[in-house]
Amino acid sequence: MSALHTKTLTELAGLLQSREVTAVQAVGACLDRIEATEPAVRALITVMAGEAMARAETLDAEGPDPSKPLWGVPVVLKDLLTTRGVRTTCGSKILKDFVPFYDATAVARLREAGAVLIGKANMDEFAMGSSTENSAYFRTANPWDAERVPGGSSGGSGASVAAGQCFAALGTDTGGSIRLPASFCGIVGVKPTYGRVSRYGLIAYGSSLDQIGPMTRSVEDAARVLQVIAGHDPRDSTSVNAPVPDYLAGLGRDSLDGVTIGLPREYWGGGIDPEVEAACRAAVARAEALGARTVPLSLSLTDYAIATYYIIAMAEASSNLSRFDGVRFGHRSQGAEELIDMYTASRTEGFGDEVQRRIIMGTYVLSSGYYDAYYNKAAKVRRLLRQDFDAALGQCDFIAGPVCPTTAFRVGAKADPIQMYLMDIFTISLNLAGLPGMSLPVGLGTDSGMPVGLQLMGRPFEEADMLSVAACLERNLDPMPLPAL
């Protein structure tokens, strides 16, 4: 049992149900692993050791429950999902001591399914960043190379899963924040269709873009977690009231006959590191060998995606983050005489530079006289982007491309915010279009030795098909090794 942490969630769930492994053993193995790897990785802001162990003991006393698919499975949550009674920081000083009295719907569904929450993962402050260097607490290292970033903003979640600290993590993806760290850390990350998973309890960054999704060590693991968290929630008006299909049913397919994969020239053109392109092309070639047909196509508005995305996300963020004013919860600056000074000081002290930058820019694009030139125009481009995708997905079943032009970059390498924003070039269009996508590890880069992720993008609410294609490909690629920690 010493290597329990190397198992997939699917394997562990089976062992737990058959009582070959107890919940206490599973949680114990993760806590041991956390103790062993945290000094190097620093993936977690809060480790829920006592609570997790108590919960595992309760579960063991009750015995395995086949109706609970995640019974006894240790899970980590990005620290912007609210957890009843457990500090939720958003990676920000302004929420340093914030303890919610309510669970996010996705969290409640995990608990309901028998999962054991064992930690809250580090992240870029308020999910603003692509490297987890923007956490107010500490930066998280990539488990493959401590000098490199794990990606972001769900970098703590990605690193924790890759390091074997847990069997699944929840991340959130506003512009690539699940897929990028999944790619950089060599794991599977799924961004569901907007509206598939309830956002209730997700501390919002860009409300029209945010979506919660699973980060795991296998496609089947991701399907199992998505099965639990997906579905309508009356507490989220933007969650879609449509039945959740069986995400496991199609995972056994052994060929990709009849599947058409679109390869947009904007994703495969210049600007991609050769090692990334090589690994992705090899994976596509494998798909073709399995029977898939590939077609070249164009997503011609890709160039406008970054500008469009940042206008919309920052506009929404500037409003979403207004509630952090020091009045009811979170950091309040002491000693201010006037109300306006209290607001200004609390927010200046509580928010980091990147958050302040985005609030200021978001405020600007919504300001009277600029609204039409920025926000309104971005909203129009966004509709066109969605049409662009709809047209492309009329010619193919899935779109494939790299998640990111590079593998995990070195710490501090993207000090210029614009350079950092460009890391999202292949991921953000999908959020603007509201479509589902995922990162599938397809190997290690030949130069950097770091993981490369292939991105699959699909039609709305067709996650089941996307997962089945990914599972088939995963089975037919060389197994992804675990990082040597």
């Binding site: 912007l80 999902l81 609210t82 939720t88 958003c90 929420l95 914030f98 919610p100 009295f101 309510y102 996010a104 956002r199 209730y200 309890g201 997700l202 501390i203 919002a204 860009g206 409300s207 029209s208 009356p234 507490r235 989220d236 008006s237 933007t238 506009a315 929404e316 500037s318 409003s319 983050l321 207004s322 509630r323 952090f324 004013d325 009045v327 009811r328 919860f329 109300l339 607001y343 405020t363 919504l366 300001s367 009277s368 609204y371 926000y375």
Partner: protein
């Protein structure tokens, strides 16, 4: 005739009478302990989301239908961003570009002149909480019970030309809201609030003058006085060669004046944008038609009908229809009464309304029920009691709920019409007042009222005046 014309537009905020708040399940009860009716959603905790209360669009649309608005089948919630401690999210969820109702109107009447006031729009929004400042503790507190209570904002065109028109418009809006049963209309508790945009311009000038927005108008009287004061202030400024400043001004009810809130408020750029947490509200045309079918008879229609069906004067019709409960009371009493409805109207306007005003009891709860009022009037009509006894008994009957006939019998208030009994009284008055009898017979017939008064005194007011007059005339002729 003034050289200036007053221009007034009103923004009315009406609390909707829903059981729960607009975006969460908290109670809307007024007067609870501070922060008793508060949850994660209405206190703006991180991560929570709003879910629209289905009653709110129904009520808002009904108000639109009652005021001739177009109901937009698609409307959008927008965020109005500003910082204030009573605003938990740092933005108010309201409507901006696509409100639920637009382009309506309300007819008013002032000094017999009918006038139509345009309604620009009606939109739905959430109310904010309340800041409470404690001088004793040198601290401020926030009560969020009101945060998230549903409101509709009704915005008029700048169509009113006097304080009287403004008040008439407000009274009409309030009546309609009460008829629809969607607002309790209580101005003191703030469930019916109004801001007035007031400007003046030289008579004949097309362009609008610079306006001031008046706030803190908690009664119709305040609205009237604040506008009158503000108009006089603006005329003085212009006559003195100064400019009116566009600003928000607070009405001070004690002094009857308005004063500037300083420019702070005006600096706001609310940065409206569609709320991404709420999908656009789409109404099924069938619902709108059903709501239209459910509209009750509205005050204006009822007024016209009361005048036609019951022969009421305009003045009485206005008073009787202002509140649905009063109108219903009147109609029930008129139906139970065999005489002229106008008489019922006189009693309701002259006696019932003042009595309700003093006691604060609603017409529907008055113990003198419509049927009993009809009974009381019948007792007067058939001579059982005098009008005076009837009026004197009115408040007692309102308070006790006694049956009028019982009440009269138990207290021996019935009028004396027995000629034998009355004849004895008349004889006694004649014999006790020889000088007056002499004078009367000499032609001073005005003394009739003296004799009448004496007989009434002897009968403790219960003598039938008609019978007494006849007897006196017989005896002294």
């Amino acid at each position: 005739m003034s050289r200036y014309e007053t221009v007034i537009g009103l923004e009315v905020h009406a609390h909707l009478k829903t059981r729960t708040k607009i975006f969460c399940a908290c109670s809307t009860t007024f007067g609870s302990e501070p922060n008793e009716n508060v949850c994660a959603v209405c206190s703006g905790m991180p991560g929570v989301l709003p879910v629209l209360n289905a009653m709110v669009p129904e009520y808002a649309a009904k108000m639109g239908l009652a005021t001739g608005c177009e109901v937009n089948l698609k409307s959008v919630f927008a965020r109005k961003n500003y910082f204030y401690p009573d605003l938990p999210k740092g933005y108010q969820i309201s409507q901006f570009e696509l409100p639920i109702c637009e382009h309506g109107s309300v007819a008013i009447e002032v000094d017999g002149q009918r006038k139509v006031i345009g309604l620009t729009r009606i939109h739905m929004e959430e109310d904010a909480g309340k800041n409470i400042h404690s001088a004793a503790e040198n601290a401020s507190f926030v009560d969020l019970n009101r945060a998230g209570v549903p409101l509709i904002e009704i915005v008029s065109e700048p169509d009113m030309r006097s304080a009287e028109e403004a008040v008439a418009y407000l009274k009409e809006l309030r009546s309609i809201l009460l008829y629809l049963g969607i607002c309790d209309g209580n101005m003191e508790e703030g469930s019916f609030r109004c801001d007035a945009n007031v400007s003046i311009r030289p008579v004949g000038q097309e362009a609008l003058g610079t306006r001031a927005e008046l706030k803190n108008l908690n009664s119709f009287k305040h609205v009237q006085k604040a506008i009158e004061y503000e108009v006089a202030r603006q005329i003085d400024l212009i006559e003195d060669g100064e400019d009116v400043v566009q600003e928000t001004r607070l009405y001070n009810a004690d002094k009857g004046t308005t004063h500037s809130m300083r420019g702070k408020e005006e600096a706001h750029d609310y940065r409206y944008f569609p709320d991404p947490d709420l999908v656009p509200l789409v109404l099924d045309p069938a619902w709108v038609e059903q709501w239209r079918a459910e509209l009750p008879e509205l005050p204006a229609a009822k007024r016209t009908r009361f005048m036609a069906d019951y022969g009421l004067a305009d003045y009485d019709a206005v008073l009787l229809t202002a509140e649905l409960a009063v109108a219903d009371y009147f109609e029930a009493a008129a139906k139970a009464y065999s005489g002229q409805a106008r008489k019922i109207a006189n009693w309701v306007v002259g006696d019932l309304l003042p009595s309700l005003g003093e006691t604060g009891i609603a017409a529907g709860d008055c113990l003198l029920t419509p049927a009993r009022l009809a009974g009381l009037l019948t007792l007067v009509d058939d001579g059982t009691i005098s009008v005076k006894i009837g009026k004197d008994s009115f408040r007692d009957l309102c308070a006790s709920g006694d049956d009028p006939a019982e009440y009269v019998r138990a207290r021996g208030l019935a009028q004396v019409s027995d000629t034998g009994e009355l004849e004895a009284m008349v004889d006694r008055v004649i014999s006790e007042n020889p000088a007056e009898v002499e004078a009367y017979r000499g032609g001073k017939t005005k003394l009739m009222s003296f004799f009448m008064g004496q007989v009434m005194r002897l009968s403790k007011g219960q003598a039938n005046p008609g019978v007494v007059t006849k007897l006196i005339q017989q005896k002294l002729s």
